[in-house]
Structure formats: C-alpha cells, structure tokens
C-alpha cells in the first residue's frame, strides 16, 4: 500500500504512546484508581504492540473462509492468540487491583498514595 502513513507506523506510535502515557500516569498520579487506569492503558499499549508484530500490510485475516486464500497472504495469527491471553490476564489483574484497593480504602479511608505509607524504611 502506498501512502505516507502506514498502518504499522500508526500501530507502533499508538502502542508506544499508550505505554508511555500509562507509565506516566503511574509515576505521577497519587490516586490509586488512576494508577490502575494507567496500568490498563499500558497494558493496552502492549497489546497493540503485540498485534502489530504479526500485522502484514494488505494481508487478510487468518481464516480459511475461502479456499482460494493462500497462507502466505494471511497475517500471523500467533500474536492475536497471545493478545487474547494477555487481555484476559490484564482484565484479571485490574479486577484484582480494584478489589484490593477497595479493601485498602476500607482500612485507611484514603486513596492517596502519599498517605498510604504505613510500610516504609
């Protein structure tokens, strides 16, 4: 495909942007919920990166819907399988994080990380 902006480039920019944005949130935000959102963003970014590794410009989905389709004209299906797993894991971790944060909020009454420093040194 011709054009200045290829899809792989978009995917790469999007993935690194999402990861950096997510990490930035984790580094700077003091609200635990926001940190979990940051984690989610970073996770999504990595998932996009994973998908992009298998992407080949102009090829079709790896489904034999038509017998005329050639394997060499398909995108790599492995990363897509990986992404599915990764999404599930990310979902699980986020849910667990939120559950733990709720319990922590019950005990401390705050979501501010600078106030949740009972354990240090």
């Amino acid at each position: 495909m011709s054009g200045v902006i290829s899809i792989s480039l978009v995917l790469n920019v999007a993935s690194s942007g999402l990861i950096l944005l997510g990490l930035y949130i984790i580094f700077t935000q003091k609200n635990l919920i926001k940190i979990v959102i940051g984690l989610g963003l970073a996770d999504t970014g990595v998932n996009v990166l994973l998908v992009s590794t298998g992407y080949i410009d102009g090829n079709t989905a790896p489904i034999f819907s038509n017998s005329a389709l050639n394997i060499s004209n398909m995108v790599d299906p492995v990363p897509q399988a990986l992404v599915l797993t990764s999404i599930v894991i990310g979902f699980g971790v986020s849910a667990l994080a939120l559950a733990l944060i709720i319990r922590l909020f019950e005990k401390t009454g705050t979501l501010d990380t600078s106030k949740i420093r009972g354990l240090k040194w």
Partner: protein, 618 residues
C-alpha cells in the same frame, strides 16, 4: 583409630551429652570432668603419633582435608586439654547453682572441640571451619555471665567475624594461587610466588590472627569481653583462647611461609615485615600493660595483661632467632599457667566475696591463705621475676632482642615489665593486704576442689621456673620440625653460649636471700603484733571508719596520660565506624520511601541507567 579423631569425637560427645541430658547434674559435673580428663590423657599420648595424618572422608573443591599431628600442635593440645581439665575441676564448685550451667559446659566442650580442630588441622579449610566454631562458641558463652556481657560479646564478635572474613579471603586466595588447601603443598610452592603477592597473602593471614590474639590496635574487644563473663571462662579465654591466634602466627610465619621467605619482604633497609610486626608487638606490650595499671576491677586488670603479655610472645617470634622463638613459644605455656593461676585466685575471691572490685576488697590474706599464695605465685610469674617461670621466657626474649640487634624493642620489653610489676602489686595489695573490710569477717577459704587446680598450677609455675628444660625439650622439637635452629638447653636453662642461664643457681641465690632476710628478721628487735586497725598512715591513725586503701586512684597520673588517647583514638575510631554503618543504614533504608509512585519511578530509572551504562554495547 587415630588419637586425633578420638580427641575430636570425645569433645563432640561432651557437647551432645550436655545438650541431651540438660537436666542431669551428674552429666554436667562428673561426666564432663571425666571427658575432660580423657581428653587430657589422650592429648598427652599424642606424642606417640607425631607425624601421622588423618583424613576426613570427603573432599572439598576436590581436595582432601584432614588433620595431622606435629610437635607444635602437640604442645598446644597439651595446653588446651590441660587447662580445660583444670577449669572444669575449678568450675565444679564455682558454677554450682549458677544460671546457664548447661550452656557453660556445652560451650566449654564446643570451644575445646574448635580449638583442637584448629591446631590439629593440616589444611586451610579445616583450619577455617574449626576457627569459626571456636569464635562462635566464644561469642555464645561470652554473652552470658553478667549484665554487660551481651554488649561486649557483640563487640568481640564484630572483631572476630572481621578476622574470619579476612581469613576466608586468605584461604580462597591461597587456593586460587596454589591450587590446594594443604599446608604442606602451600609451603612447597610458596617460593614460586611473587614478592608483593607473598606480602599481601602473609599480611592477610597475620592481620586476621592478630585480631584474634588482640594485637594493638585491634585489642579493644578483649578486656571488655573477657572481664564481663563468668570468671572461670575468663581464665579459659585469657589462658588459651587468645593464644590460638599466636598458634596461627607461628604456623604461618615459620611453618608455611618460612622465615627465609618472610625475610625477603624488605621495605627499606632494616625495616622488613618482621620488624614492623615487632613494633606492633612492642606497642601491644607497653600500652595495654600501662592501661592495666589503673583498672579498678581485678578481672579487667588481668584482662589487659592478657593483651600485653601477647606482645612478649610476638616480639620473641619477631626476633626470629633461636633464642627469641623459643622464648616466645615458652612464654605461651608460662603465661598460660600463671595467668590462669591469677584468674583462679581472683575467681576464688569473687566466689566468696561476690566482687572483683579492687577498691572494695582488702586484707583477705588470713581468711584465704591458699588463694593469696596462688595469686602471689601468679604475679611473680607475670611480672617476670625469678624464681617463677615468667622470668625464664622473658629473659630469653630480652636476650634475643639484644642479640639480634633490636635494642629499642628490648627497651620496650623492659618498660612493659615495669608496668607489669607496678600493676600486679596493686592487684595483690588491694585484694589480700591492707585492712579487711568488716563485712568480710566471715569469709572462709574456698573448698578443696577449687584449691586443687591452684595447687597444681603453683607447682607448675614454680617447677617450670626452676626446670625450664622440661618445656625446652618439646620446644626444641618444635623448632627442629619447623626447620629452625635450636637453643642448647639444659634442665635448668640454657647450657652454654651467650645466653647462658641456670635457674637452679638463680633459685638457690633467691632462696638464700630469703633465708638471710628471714634470719635478720628473727634476729631483729622484739616485735609487737597489733590489730590491723591499730595503724597509721600519713600521720593519721586509722580506724574502722577510715578505710586504709592507699592505692585508690593510685595511678591516676598514668590514667590521665593514657586514657585520653585511648578514648580519643581507639574508641573514637570504633564509634566512628559504628556511626558510619548506622548512618549509611539509615540513608539506605530511606530508599524504601513507601510511595508507590517513587517505586515505579525506580523501575524506569533502573532501565534508563542500564541503557546509559551499556550504551556502547547497544
């Protein structure tokens, strides 16, 4: 079965029995005593197997390890087991009813096990393993027996663990240089080593042993550590434990490196490795001895001497001629006997009066005559006066220093002796002479089981004084086995040559002098026996209310001279190091701030720093 394995197994059996039957008094007292007696008997018979080797049935780093019997370790084994037996006899009554008695006997066996292992080992690994067992058991028992004990034991341990870590570097370095742990193999390959490496390796070993034998300026752990624990354990520690470090020095200086190799380590003209070692020995001799002068606690005082006397042994070794080395080695057993004798006397007094504070005691001579006699014999030995054994070895050492051209070191030795005499006088006076405080009117002499070890040691202290040849025979064998020249000794001293010495003559003269003095005393005018409170001093009559304790703060002047330096330099350095570790620890802990955001930033930082570090690889 070889005697070596017998010795070690019996010591280990003692540990196990005492742990298993921790409730049984019979095991603690009599079975332990029996085992110690067997140990002494076995080690006495070790001379039959000198030269034999016993391998431990497994390999370490592909090396076979084990034990061997030489004349040098026979000498040390005799001293270790002998003094353990005497301590055990003395402890029968002394430790009775005290808390921690199981621990005491267990550790005594463990410590004996460790020390025997160290001296019998024929390779660095065995040496190191038993060395560690030794210092850990010392730490464990040193932590008990008094209020201050845990703190001073910790201090001891910091020194000891530093020493063993340095030793470990030496062990591993030798292995990587020579490909073997075995002493004999290392000895045979030592000449192939470059001189700087030889110096480095030797320094590692010597520094490590110097810490254990409390050489100045690494001695500050000893007086505190030794004086805060059970007094019988003090005897044991001060008598033999410290001297294991000297064993290490003898072994490495003469046995492994060899004096020819050591003498190649010249820094500038006459200043060589040995000389520097001698200077440190001289400092060890003088400063701690004078520190002992102004101690108010009998145990502390004698513990400081334990440091100072080590200096004599080391300076004798540093002179490296036949007379000096034999003097140094002879001084170990002489020191052992009189030092333990003194500590036993102190322990007897403590047992009866409950204190070792010199300013609170006094006038016990009539109440505890045997202990008095023991202390008297001991301090004559310690001060190095005839006819006791301390004189002989010190004589050897002075003579050797002058003969090998170290006049300054010889003067230092004499200065040290003056300090010793001054301080032991204070010791005996404040405990046994002067006025008896009223609270001690009912004091009795200690029981026979505590007297017996003192009698034995008195005989040895006097016997070795008159017949130094008894020990010299063994020392000559040690010197021959280390490839050193031998002193032409006789039963009463040195047979011929420039160092000629006949202790029988000296003793006879001494006794003759005593007899003359006695006759003059008898011939003199009539004497009136007065009550001890019917007395005067400085123009004042003394009575029960005014205590007559004339050397209370007697050496304050010396205290004013030495203490500031001790406090300023040594204590400040030690505090500085501890403070530094503390401060670093506080700062390092603050890395863990508790903020999740900071923690997350650490991850990115680590990532970025790694990229910066490795950018030439990318």
């Amino acid at each position: 079965m070889s005697i070596v394995s017998g010795l070690l197994l019996i010591a280990l059996a003692g540990v196990i029995l005492n742990v298993l039957f921790y409730k049984s008094k019979i095991v603690q007292k009599y079975v332990s005593l029996l085992l110690f007696a067997v140990l002494a008997y076995l080690s006495f018979n070790m001379y039959k197997q000198v030269g034999s080797h016993f391998s431990i049935p497994f390999l370490i780093a592909g090396q076979s390890i084990g034990f061997t019997i030489t004349w040098l370790n026979y000498y040390f084994a005799l001293m270790i087991t002998g003094i353990t037996l005497l301590t055990a006899i003395f402890s029968l009554k002394y430790m009775e009813g005290k808390e921690g008695i199981v621990h005491y006997y267990t550790v005594l066996f463990m410590k004996t096990f460790g020390m025997l292992g160290v001296i019998l080992s024929s390779d660095l690994i065995t040496f190191f393993v038993f060395w560690e067992i030794m210092s850990w058991s010392t730490f464990s028992l040193m932590s008990t027996g008094g209020k201050e004990a845990p703190k001073s034991a910790l201090k001891y341990f910091i020194f000891a663990v530093t020493a063993s870590m340095i030793l470990m570097v030496g062990v591993v370095l030798s292995y990587s240089l020579f490909g073997s742990f075995d002493f004999a193999v290392i000895h045979s390959k030592i000449d192939s080593l470059s001189l700087p490496m030889t110096g480095f390796l030797l320094s590692i070993f010597i520094v490590s042993f110097s810490i254990e034998s409390a050489v100045f300026p690494m001695h500050s752990w000893l007086p505190e550590g030794y004086s805060n624990t059970f007094t019988t354990f003090t005897a044991y520690l001060t008598g033999i434990s410290t001297r294991i470090g000297i064993y290490g020095i003898i072994l490495f200086l003469f046995g492994i490196f060899g004096i020819q190799t050591v003498d190649k380590l010249v820094i500038l003209g006459k200043i060589n490795f040995r000389y520097i070692f001698g200077v440190f020995a001289a400092l060890t001799m003088i400063i701690p001895t004078f520190t002992a002068l102004y101690q108010h606690d009998a145990k502390k005082l004698i513990a400081w001497h334990s440091v100072g006397q080590g200096g004599y042994m080391l300076i004798g070794l540093a002179s490296a001629n036949a007379l000096g080395i034999s003097g140094g080695i002879l001084h170990i057993i002489n020191y052992l006997t009189y030092q333990v004798l003194i500590v036993f006397a102190i322990a007897s007094v403590e047992y009866r009066t409950g204190t070792t504070n010199l300013n609170k005691l006094g006038g016990l001579i009539k109440k505890m005559p045997v202990s008095y006699l023991a202390l008297l014999f001991g301090i004559i030995g310690l001060a190095g006066l005839p006819p006791m054994n301390g004189f002989v070895s010190k004589w050897f050492i002075y003579k050797a220093l002058i003969m090998s051209g170290y006049p300054f070191l010889a003067i230092a030795a004499v200065i040290g002796t003056i300090g010793t005499i001054l301080s032991v006088y204070k010791l005996i006076h404040n405990m046994f002479l002067g006025q008896l405080p009223e609270r001690y009117n009912d004091i009795k002499e200690v029981s026979f089981s505590m007297q017996l070890p003192m009698w034995i040691l008195m005989i040895v202290v006097f016997g070795l004084g008159v017949y130094p040849g008894l020990a010299m025979g063994l020392i000559a064998k040690i010197q021959t086995s280390l490839g050193l020249a031998v002193v032409p000794y006789s039963l009463h001293g040195i047979a011929s040559g420039s160092g000629q010495l006949n202790m029988l003559v000296i003793t006879a003269l001494f006794m003759g002098g005593l007899a003359v003095a006695w006759i003059i005393y008898l011939l003199g005018s009539r004497r009136k026996h007065v009550n001890q409170y019917n007395n005067y001093a400085g123009g004042h009559f003394l009575n029960k209310d005014v205590a007559y304790n004339f050397n209370y703060e007697f050496y304050a002047a010396i205290e004013h001279v030495i203490d500031p330096y001790r406090k300023k330099i040594i204590e400040r350095t030690e505090r500085g190091i501890i403070g530094l570790v503390d401060a670093v620890s506080e700062y390092v802990r603050r890395i863990y701030t508790g903020m999740i955001n900071t923690y997350a930033i650490y991850i990115l930082t680590a990532f970025v720093i790694t990229i910066i570090f490795l950018k030439e690889l990318i």
